[in-house]
């Protein structure tokens, strides 16, 4: 029992630190990616190639003067970024980061907990994530912040529906809500789910962009219209929390996308690879992170390429295109499964 708790605590700590680390380096990555795409160099002063830039940024965030507007609601003003950070960090619990490590006689799965409704848990956490933005935006007592908060809440609620419907089709195919089991299914014999659910993947991907408030759906914070959106009034580490939460969200959604549609930690042609035991587990974990990093890169790639939607167009896309498409996807999945005798 005690070893179990210690092992879980260590795992939680590792996932926590990795989330923070990846988020920190995602800020660096974002700047570098943007720079390369725009024929620039990007940060290159702190350390070789600027790799200590996140540390410098973090230090700066901590040292900066903290400004809390006098007319704001102080408690909620502080609660906002904290909630954003909290919900961002919570979703990593159910993601299977790798197979089972064998140490001595014991097996240690690289997943904090494999609850049988894992995907619903992720969904619940995501649906709760909007509060951080809403509360922060409202408590700032600034009209731009308020507009950002209102945009964020309606956008996230609208896209949750399409996202949920996309997942429904996937769940019909896999027959389970547990992420661990989904990965296992994709590992043994079957193709990755992207082959079965290309449309569902596309819808899920678009909704993931919307849920993480990334371009082309970065309306809540779009700097050319709302100055800074919900975090206009924030400064110092509270602003840092908001930015961090966004990158952690990207990290987690990349991990979830890889898990759901790209075979999780499975290697392609896994049965032909002459690796076994812990080496395989390590290779799998590394490959999983490779996939995650690719998707993080993809998020950035899209952001630095396309313009953003307008509020009403965003709603039209969500309600009039994505939701009908997702329903059609469910229908098609059902019909196909029935036709192939899988039911």
């Amino acid at each position: 029992m005690l070893t179990f708790i210690i092992y879980k605590s260590i795992l939680v700590l590792i996932v926590f630190l990795i989330s923070l680390g990846v988020a920190a380096y995602a800020t660096y990555g974002e700047r570098k990616v943007a720079a390369f795409m725009q024929d620039r160099i990007g940060p290159d002063r702190a350390g070789p190639f600027g790799i200590f830039q996140p540390l410098a940024d973090g230090l700066k965030m901590f040292m900066k003067e903290e400004i809390i507007p006098t007319v704001s609601n102080k408690f909620l003003f502080i609660l906002g970024p904290s909630l954003a950070m909290l919900t961002a960090l919570m979703a990593g619990v159910v993601v299977p980061w790798g197979g089972k490590l064998a140490i001595g006689d014991h097996f240690y799965p690289l997943q904090i907990t494999d609850i049988n409704i894992g995907i619903l848990y992720v969904f619940g956490v995501v649906s709760f994530g909007v509060y951080g933005i809403m509360i922060g935006g409202w408590a700032s007592n600034n009209k731009y912040s308020l507009l950002g908060a209102l945009r964020a809440s309606s956008q996230m609620i609208s896209y949750e529906i399409a996202m949920g419907l996309a997942i429904v089709a996937l769940v019909m195919k896999t027959g389970t809500l547990s992420l661990g089991e989904m990965v296992a299914q994709q590992g043994t014999g079957g193709w990755w789910n992207i082959v079965y659910q290309p449309l569902g993947f596309l819808i899920f991907l678009i909704c993931a962009f919307a849920e993480t408030n990334r371009a082309p759906f970065d309306l809540p914070e779009c700097e050319t219209e709302l100055v800074g959106g919900y975090h206009t009034e924030y400064s110092s580490m509270k602003l840092g929390f908001y930015l961090f939460a966004e990158y952690i969200n990207i990290f987690i959604s990349s991990a979830v996308i890889s898990t759901l549609y790209f075979g999780g930690f499975n290697l392609p042609f896994q049965s032909h690879i002459p690796l076994d035991g812990n080496w395989l587990v390590i290779a799998q974990t590394a490959f999983f992170f490779g996939k995650v990093i690719f998707f993080i890169f993809f998020f950035m790639w899209v952001r630095w390429t396309i313009p953003r939607f307008r509020y009403d167009q965003l709603m039209n896309l969500g309600w009039k295109i994505l939701i009908p498409l997702a329903i059609f996807n469910i229908l098609a999945t059902g019909v196909l499964m029935y036709a192939l005798g899988k039911v």
Binding site: D39, R40, I41, W304
Partner: protein, 203 residues
């Protein structure tokens, strides 16, 4: 409305099916950005590498000295009059005996100040100067923290006698040709004049 026969409507607002689907255009754009990802950046790493600045650049001023090291400025005040920003102030003084190697003409600027916060670097002072005394260079005025520090006096403006600034690139071919002609009064330094005087006495 038609005013000329050169009119050309350039806008097509109907979208084709492929354009309506969002994705082709987005993919297209992503291919373009990816091409740039592997292209060499256009950035110049400034403090280490400096961009090649043209010879005609209008940067920080310099007050020139002649070949002997005497200041060329004769405090005629044309530059101050020409300055649209009224950034130049000067006080003239008369050259005393023994100062011939310091000042080229009998009158010189005892105080010469340019307020770099007022200056708009239009180059009119350089155009106005009939004595080849003030030039703008390809140097950039450094930043500072205090307003006072931006009022550049002669200590900062007059060129260092040991580190001459080559400005031949700013001058036209005709001027450079003309300057070789030592018989013209403009091109004679004080030493040249003394030599000439001596030669005249001999004759």
């Amino acid at each position: 409305m038609q005013l000329t026969n050169r009119k050309k409507v350039v806008v097509k607002k109907e979208m084709s099916l492929a354009e309506k689907l969002y994705l082709p255009a987005i993919t297209n754009g992503m291919v373009i950005t990816m091409k740039h990802f592997f292209k060499k950046g256009a950035t110049v790493r400034y403090p280490e590498v400096k961009r090649e600045i043209s010879e005609t650049y209008r940067g920080q001023h310099v007050l020139k000295r002649d070949e002997q090291g005497a200041e060329r400025c004769t405090a005629c005040g044309l530059c101050a009059v020409a300055c649209p920003a009224e950034a130049i102030t000067m006080e003239a003084a008369e050259r005393k005996k023994g100062e011939e190697t310091l000042y080229r003409e009998e009158k010189y600027a005892a105080v010469y100040e340019i307020n770099m916060l007022r200056c708009i670097f239009c180059g009119l002072c350089e155009e106005a100067c009939p004595k080849e005394a003030i030039f703008l260079t390809d140097r950039i005025v450094p930043t500072d923290l205090k307003r006072d520090e931006f009022v550049y006096g002669k200590d900062k403006l007059v060129e260092d006698i040991n580190h001459r600034i080559d400005l031949s690139g700013r001058q036209t071919k005709e001027v450079l040709e003309f300057k070789k002609d030592k018989t013209k009064a403009h091109n004679q330094t004080w030493a040249d004049k003394q030599k000439l005087l001596k030669e005249n006495k001999h004759h």
